[in-house]
């Protein structure tokens, strides 16, 4: 059996392994997604740290912003 080394791509009804160009683009997209998630995570941690510094909970902060 052929070893699957790349993710599967579907084009309409055809499903096959990604070619090199498709895989490269896929990897680029994943890297961008990871960077975005890391930035969001850092933002969430900074927010959590600020809440701790202020001595209020996230719910209390949400009340202040409504």
């Amino acid at each position: 059996m052929k070893k699957m080394t790349k993710p599967l791509i579907q084009i309409d009804d055809e499903v096959r392994e990604m070619n090199d160009a498709e895989f490269a683009q896929h990897q680029e997209m994943l890297l961008e997604a990871q960077a975005k998630e890391a930035a969001e995570q850092a933002k969430a941690e900074a927010k959590s740290a600020l809440l701790e510094k202020l001595g209020i909970s996230a719910e209390e902060a949400a009340l202040l912003l409504r």
Partner: protein, 242 residues
């Protein structure tokens, strides 16, 4: 005597059916001669009937004064009715990380609705959208509210390689529901919709954005930030222009 066919419809006991009764006002005998299932017999004038065979599956009977019978079978909504028309239904395969849908957009419709449901993914993930093979110029804003805390958060795509949150999925379900405006026009393409993360500690929110080019697109690709999708259906609907 009533006009039209039959010439007389109010026969009573004792009446004798005559040639005059059977003939129409022009002295012509009208008769129904079906040749196939679904045949109809509309009038082609005030004195004659004609056979109209049933249309293709999914077509609807539409008034058209240019036709001999004043009507025809036409594509659903083709008679000028407003509403949504299903253009494409794409079943998602097993374990796929990227799904391209071709021939989704055309000059027939300016605006579309895309819905993805019924499948699952191997992990909690966000669904991404690319138009054609374009990997630059995606601008979008996302507002979301956390289910448990009520806290709001904001994210964005700033000249990104795709729209990065047009839906979500996990091992229990899959969701995407958004409108896409003017993808096949030589104008910017706009999207708007909602996303729902199917995880109790996560969030739901709204998406709005545009693709900063004037390419006329015919298809799109669904991507994801992790894992892969199995099952479910991508459905594309066209909004009637008029």
């Amino acid at each position: 005597m009533a006009t039209g066919f039959p010439v007389k419809a109010d026969y009573t006991t004792g009446d004798v059916l005559s040639a005059a009764n059977m003939n129409d006002l022009s002295g012509t005998l009208n008769y129904l001669d079906p040749t196939a299932k679904g045949d109809l017999f509309p009038a082609s004038s005030d004195t004659a009937l004609t056979r109209l065979g049933v249309g293709a599956n999914g077509t609807v009977l539409t008034a058209d004064s240019a036709e001999a019978t004043g009507m025809k079978w036409a594509a659903g909504g083709g008679g000028g009715a407003s509403g949504l028309t299903l253009i494409k239904s794409q079943v998602i395969g097993t374990g796929v990380s990227s799904i391209a849908v071709t021939s989704a957009f055309s000059s027939t419709y300016d605006n579309y609705k895309i819905m993805i449901s019924g499948g699952t993914s191997s992990a909690n993930n966000s669904l991404y959208l690319q138009l054609g093979s374009t990997v630059t110029g995606y601008y979008a804003g996302y507002t979301r509210v956390n289910y448990s805390t009520g806290a709001a958060s904001l994210t964005n795509d700033n000249n990104g390689t795709s729209f990065t949150r047009i839906g979500s999925s996990n091992t229990n379900g899959m969701h995407s529901n958004f409108d896409i405006l003017s993808p096949n026009l030589a104008k910017n393409t706009f999207i708007g919709g909602a996303f729902v993360d199917p995880a109790t500690a996560s969030s739901a929110g709204a998406i709005a954005g545009f693709l900063n080019d004037t390419t006329a697109y015919t298809g799109f690709t669904i991507l994801m930030n992790t894992g892969n999708l199995t099952g479910g259906t991508i459905r594309v609907y066209g909004y009637q222009n008029s």
